[in-house]
């Protein structure tokens, strides 16, 4: 799992090497590193990193060790990769019900409904979901469509 880290390092030679030690020791793989010298505040230089850790535990251990060493962790958050999925739903639909349905971190980005020429209404939705949960989101939407006797057409 990838994390976005910003460390505040004392502007002295050797500080960066020291800060990288706990990351390596805990199995972190550095994807990118950016020394933001132009954003120096007082004696501190911000360094932004994207690090791939084996699990949350290894990330938290690294963070604690950095803080114990006196390195200030200005920012630390998990990078959740998002997937965009498009759906078309056909049926007698209650859009409100879909919008209100709490499906793990699914965010409706936009939707478009067409003026129905038959009894079947039709709506297209673009949603954003975490990549790892995309399969589960599709399954839940399928279940919802089935309950509403609607046809769910998802992108592959």
């Amino acid at each position: 799992m990838k994390f976005d880290l910003t460390l505040g390092l004392v502007d002295r030679p050797g500080q960066l090497i020291k800060a990288l030690e706990p990351i390596a020791k805990n199995g972190g793989n550095i994807i990118s590193i950016f020394h933001e010298r132009e954003k120096t505040t007082g004696a501190y230089v911000p360094v932004s990193l994207v690090v791939d850790f084996p699990n949350v535990k290894s990330f938290e251990k690294t963070k604690n060790e950095l803080e114990d060493m006196g390195v200030s962790v200005i920012k630390s958050e998990e990078i959740i990769e998002k997937a965009h999925i498009t759906f078309v739903l056909i049926g007698k639909l209650d859009i409100g019900k879909i919008a209100e349905t709490q499906i793990e971190s699914m965010r409706i980005i936009d939707f478009e409904a067409s003026a129905p020429t038959s009894e079947e209404a039709c709506v297209k939705l673009n949603v954003e979901v975490p990549v790892e949960g995309a399969g589960r989101v599709i399954s839940k939407l399928k279940k919802l469509a089935k309950e509403e006797n609607a046809v769910l057409i998802s992108s592959v």
Partner: protein, 333 residues
């Protein structure tokens, strides 16, 4: 090689015509190839010295081959009576119990005949039973024509992807539903109008449910899953949604976002046939009556094959199966 053909319908007749037209090529592999029997519902034609391919190519009913026609005799009797090396099964598909094709194939394999079938019913109903029976009797059972017509699906995987593990297969496996959805996509017509057009053009049957309710595609999903992904699944294991409820508005909304709606058969952890949104630049986005299959494998990653999924082109798959068996026999001798 002495062969029998069971099923003298459109495909069976076109196969005979093709064998006759390509007899010189076939003789290069098997100089003694003979068709000794042809079975149909009203009787069979049989001649131990070989039937005339030229004569059979010019008739529509077996009774028009009076010198060797046995009226009222069944195809099962034909299979039991004669000593053939190969039985070609081309009777109509029945996915409920696989009959009559299932009995024909079982009888032929039990007698030690190799089998080539274009009839998917038996392969849907009894895939494992038939492949086990073929193995036990040291026979070849070839069924390339049962999925996606002329497209070399099984040959591709069995000969060219021997080191690959198939992770996922998705595809357009029914030409009629693809024709209907293509008309809706390009012309904005209603489902009903596109279906009528397909019926008028003879692309679908008077009862189109087999095509538009995904029954045909689900049958092919079962064969693909069993044959290429080592699953042991039945027709009822396929989650199935057809295309009856697709509206022009749905097609139009999808199109505005760069998608076409296609009836897709999909095999991974689950088996499914359902309408899906296919990006216009995806290799599966083929139109008209074309079929397409998209494989995801561990080594080659992605491979797509496209071609004609039904009609007379299907004899290409049957000819390849027949020649493969002839070649194996000739290499063995």
């Amino acid at each position: 090689m002495r062969a029998l053909l069971v099923g003298f319908g459109f495909l069976g007749r076109y196969l005979i015509k093709t064998i006759y037209g390509k007899r010189e090529e076939l003789e290069k592999v098997d100089k003694d190839f003979k068709l000794i029997g042809v079975g149909e519902i009203d009787g069979y034609a049989y001649n131990d010295r070989g039937l005339s391919l030229e004569r059979l190519s010019s008739i529509k009913k077996l009774s028009d081959y009076p010198q060797d026609f046995f009226k009222g005799k069944t195809s099962v009797e034909l299979i039991e009576k004669c000593e053939a090396d190969l039985m070609i099964e081309a009777t109509p598909t029945n996915i409920v119990n696989g009959e009559p094709g299932l009995t024909h194939i079982e009888k032929a394999l039990a007698k030690g005949m190799h089998v080539v079938t274009s009839n998917k019913g038996p392969m849907v109903v009894a895939f494992k039973k038939l492949t086990d029976l073929a193995k036990k009797n040291n026979c070849k059972l070839k069924y390339e024509a049962t999925v996606a017509g002329a497209i070399p699906v099984f040959s591709l995987v069995e000969t060219c992807l021997q080191g690959d593990k198939i992770l996922k297969i998705s595809g357009i496996l029914n030409g009629t539903s693809n024709y209907i959805l293509s008309r809706m996509y390009f012309e904005g017509t209603s489902f009903e109008m596109a279906l009528r057009e397909a019926q008028e053009r003879g692309i679908t049957e008077a009862d189109p449910s087999y095509d538009i309710d995904g029954i045909d595609a689900a049958s092919k999903v079962v064969i693909l899953a069993n044959a290429l992904m080592n699953k042991n699944v039945k027709f009822g294991d396929v989650e199935r949604v057809g295309i009856r409820r697709i509206t022009p508005e749905a097609v139009s909304l999808a199109k505005k976002s760069g998608y076409a709606i296609k009836l897709i058969g999909m095999i991974n952890e689950t088996l499914e046939v359902a309408p899906k949104l296919i990006p216009e630049d995806h290799p599966l986005c083929v139109h008209g009556t074309l079929n397409a299959l998209h494989f995801e494998t561990d080594l080659a990653r992605e491979i797509t094959i496209i071609g004609h999924g039904a009609g007379k082109e299907t004899v290409s798959a049957m000819m390849n199966d027949i020649i493969s068996i002839a070649r194996t026999r000739s290499n063995a001798n």
